[in-house]
Symmetry: C2
Subunit: 372 residues, 2 copies
C-alpha cells in the first residue's frame, strides 16, 4: 500500500487527508497539534508534528513516504516543493506559490520525479479540462470564470474568504497576464468587469485576475483569460481601497512609524471577510473552450457539505488533488518533471478518471457543447 | 478707525483680512511668514508673526486691537476664544471648534464682550437666515443642505476638500444631532441619504451631518436638520471606509506598532482630496424654513472668484464673517456674551445689512416663498 503524506492540515489539507485515508497508508503533518488531533479522531490516519523553523525538518519527515501532497501556505510552498523534489519524491502541490514552478523542472527530471503543481480547482481542474481538448484539436480560445462565495450577501463587500485577506488582496493588486490575439497582455487586476448570469445564483461580476499561470507557457491558444467571480459591487469596493492606496506595500510614515497600508487593511478586513464555521458557501466555475467550430462549456457548482463540514473550496480543490494522487499511486502519470494539470488532462483515460472521481464525491461538472 | 486683528492667515483668514483692509486699520497674524508676506504685498494691512507655542502670545498680540477675528484651526479655536474673551475683546469666531461655546458665556458677559461664534456660511449664514424668521413668527421646521464641491468629478470620491481630510472624516464619523417632532435625535453620520436636483449642477446627495450646533439650544422648532451635500456615490465610498474601520481612532497593533487607522487614512486621502490651486469649485446651500402657512426658501450658489483667487468657501464663510465684523464695529450688535449668528439675524436691520453686504460681493442669496 502506498504511503502518502499530506503537508499542512488546513481546510484543504484536512479534506485531502480525510479523502485519502480510506485507501492509502495516510499521514498528515502540521505545526498545529489541535488541528491534527481533531482529524485523527475522525479518520484512520497518522499525524506528524512539523517544526518548519527547523532546517531539514521537511526532508526528515518525508523520507518514509511514497507520495507527498504539499498543502502548506503559498509563502513557503516553493521552498517546500524544492525540498520534496530534492528527496526524489513524487508530489502533488496545491500551495499555489507565486514563484515559477518550471524553475524546478530540471531538478525534478534529474530526480525522476513527477511534480504535479497548481492542482486545485482553478488553477487545477480548469487546466485539466483545457488539456484534454487541447490534445484533441486546435483551440482558439479559453476563458475561465471562477469564484468562491458566501450565500449571505452583506454590504458592502458581499464576500467571505476561506483564506487570509492578504492572499485575496494579492489577487486584487497583481496585474493579470492574459493572451489576446496571440499576444501576452498585462491587464490591471480588477479590470474589464463584466456581468454574468448564473442559474439559481443570479448575477455575478467577473474581472481579470492572474490565474493562467502555466497555461501561458504550455498552451498555444491565441485568446486565454481567467476572471474571478464576485457579487456585483465587490470589485468596485475593493478598487476604491486599492486606488486610495490601502493595498500598497510601500511603507509610509505615520507619527514616526513606518507602516505598510496593506498590513493595516488586512487586519481590518480579517474579521469582516472571515468565513465563519456555519457560513454556507459555494464554489462556481464556468469554463468556455472554443475550437474553430465548437464551444465546449463546463459548469461546476459545489456547495459546502453539511455532513462533513468540508467547504466547497476544500472539496473542489481537495478532490481534484486526491484524484491526481490516485493516478500517481497507480502509476498512470508518465510525465516526469514539473507537471502542470493540463498535462494530466491530455491523457483521455486520466481525464475521464478525474471527472468520474469528482462525480463520485458529488462535485458535479456539467458539460455541454454547441456549434459556433 | 477701529483696529481689527485676524488670527490665522489661511484660505478664509486671508480673504477676511483682504476684505476688511479697505475700511479698517487691519492686521493679520499667522505663524507662517510666507502666507503673511504674500497677502501684505497685495493689500494695505499689517502682519504679525505669532508663535502659538508661546504661552501668553495671543494675549500680548491682541491687546492693541478693538475687534478680533478668530480664524485659527478648530483644534486650538476654543482655547484661543477663551483667551480673547479673557482680554475683554469683542470677537467674531470662525474656527468651528468642537467644544460648546456657551461654556464661555458667563466669562464673556462678565467682560462685557460680544463673541459671535460659528460665523461662516453654515453654520453662520444659515443661522442668520433662521434667526430672522424665528423673530417674526412661529416656525415648524428648518432644513439646511450645504456643501462645497469641485466642478471636476473624479472617480471614486468625486470630492476635493478645502481643508484637511481629518476634518472631513470627523464630519463622516461624528453622530448628527437633529430635532424630530420636538425631540433631540442622534443619527449616525452619513445616514438618511437623499437625492436632490439643482439647476445647472444636477443631482447631489444629502446626508445627516452634525451642523446644527447652537440652534439645538437657541431655537424652539420641532424639526431641524442639517445635511451635507456631495455628488452621489461619495457617501457610499466613505461609508465603505468608515464601516471597514479606516476612520477609527482606536489604536490597533500592526507589526508591534500601535496605529490609529484614521491617521493612515487621512494621509492617503490627503493627496486625493487636496483642492489644487487651479481647481474650480463651488459652494451650494439650500435652506428651507417652514412656518405653519409658508415655506421660505433660500438658495446660495457661489463659485471661485478667478480674479482674486478666493475660493467660494473662503468667500461665503469670510464675507459673512466680515459683514458681522462691520456690524460689531458700528456698535450694532447689542447682545453681550456668546452670540450665535441666529441672534444677529433676529435684528431685521442687521439681517438686511448682511444680505446686502454679501450681494455687493456677488455672493447671491436667492429668496422665494410659497404657501404650504
Amino acid at each position: 500500500m502506498k504511503r502518502i503524506l499530506i503537508l499542512g492540515c488546513g481546510m484543504v489539507g484536512s479534506t485531502i487527508a480525510a479523502d485519502l485515508s480510506d485507501k492509502f497508508d495516510t499521514a498528515v503533518a502540521d505545526s498545529d497539534r489541535k488541528k491534527l488531533s481533531s482529524i485523527s479522531q475522525n479518520f484512520n490516519l497518522k499525524t506528524e508534528i512539523i517544526d518548519l523553523r527547523k532546517k531539514g525538518a521537511i526532508q526528515m519527515l518525508i523520507k518514509d513516504y511514497d507520495i507527498i501532497v504539499n498543502a502548506l501556505p503559498g509563502s513557503i510552498g516553493y521552498a517546500t516543493l524544492e525540498a520534496i523534489i530534492g528527496e526524489g519524491k513524487d508530489v502533488v502541490d496545491i500551495s499555489f506559490f507565486p514563484e515559477d514552478a518550471f524553475n524546478l523542472d530540471t531538478a525534478a527530471r534529474e530526480k525522476n520525479v513527477t511534480a504535479v503543481v497548481d492542482c486545485g480547482v482553478a488553477p487545477g481542474l480548469s487546466n485539466i479540462l483545457l488539456g484534454y481538448h487541447y490534445s484533441k484539436e486546435k483551440l482558439s480560445s479559453f476563458a475561465c470564470y471562477v469564484g468562491g462565495l458566501p450565500f449571505e450577501r452583506t454590504h458592502p463587500y458581499q464576500y467571505k474568504a476561506p483564506f487570509s485577506p492578504s492572499d485575496v488582496i494579492e489577487e486584487y493588486t497583481r496585474p493579470a497576464r492574459i493572451k489576446e490575439g496571440g499576444e501576452l497582455k498585462i491587464k490591471p487586476a480588477l479590470s474589464e468587469q463584466e456581468l454574468l448570469n448564473f442559474r439559481n445564483i443570479g448575477t455575478l461580476e467577473g474581472f481579470n485576475s492572474d490565474g493562467l499561470r502555466s497555461l501561458l507557457i504550455t498552451m498555444d491558444i491565441p485568446d486565454m483569460k481567467e476572471k474571478t467571480l464576485r457579487y456585483p459591487g465587490h470589485a468596485e469596493a475593493v478598487r476604491l481601497l486599492r486606488d486610495t492606496g490601502f493595498f500598497s506595500s510601500d511603507e509610509i510614515k505615520i507619527n514616526g512609524m513606518d507602516i505598510k497600508p496593506v498590513d493595516l487593511s488586512s487586519k481590518l478586513l480579517f474579521d469582516i471577510w472571515k468565513l465563519k464555521e456555519d457560513d454556507d458557501e459555494f464554489t462556481i466555475m464556468q469554463v468556455f473552450i472554443d475550437s474553430e467550430m465548437k464551444r465546449y462549456n463546463y459548469f461546476l457548482f459545489d456547495r459546502k457539505d453539511k455532513e462533513t463540514g468540508f467547504s466547497s473550496m476544500a472539496r473542489t480543490t481537495g478532490f481534484t488533488c486526491t484524484a491526481v494522487v490516485n493516478l500517481l499511486a497507480e502509476g498512470r502519470l508518465k510525465h516526469k518533471g514539473i507537471t502542470p494539470p493540463e498535462y494530466v488532462g491530455m491523457d483521455e483515460m486520466n481525464f475521464r478518471y478525474i471527472l468520474n472521481y469528482l462525480s463520485e464525491r458529488k462535485v458535479a461538472v456539467e458539460f455541454s457543447e454547441q456549434k459556433l
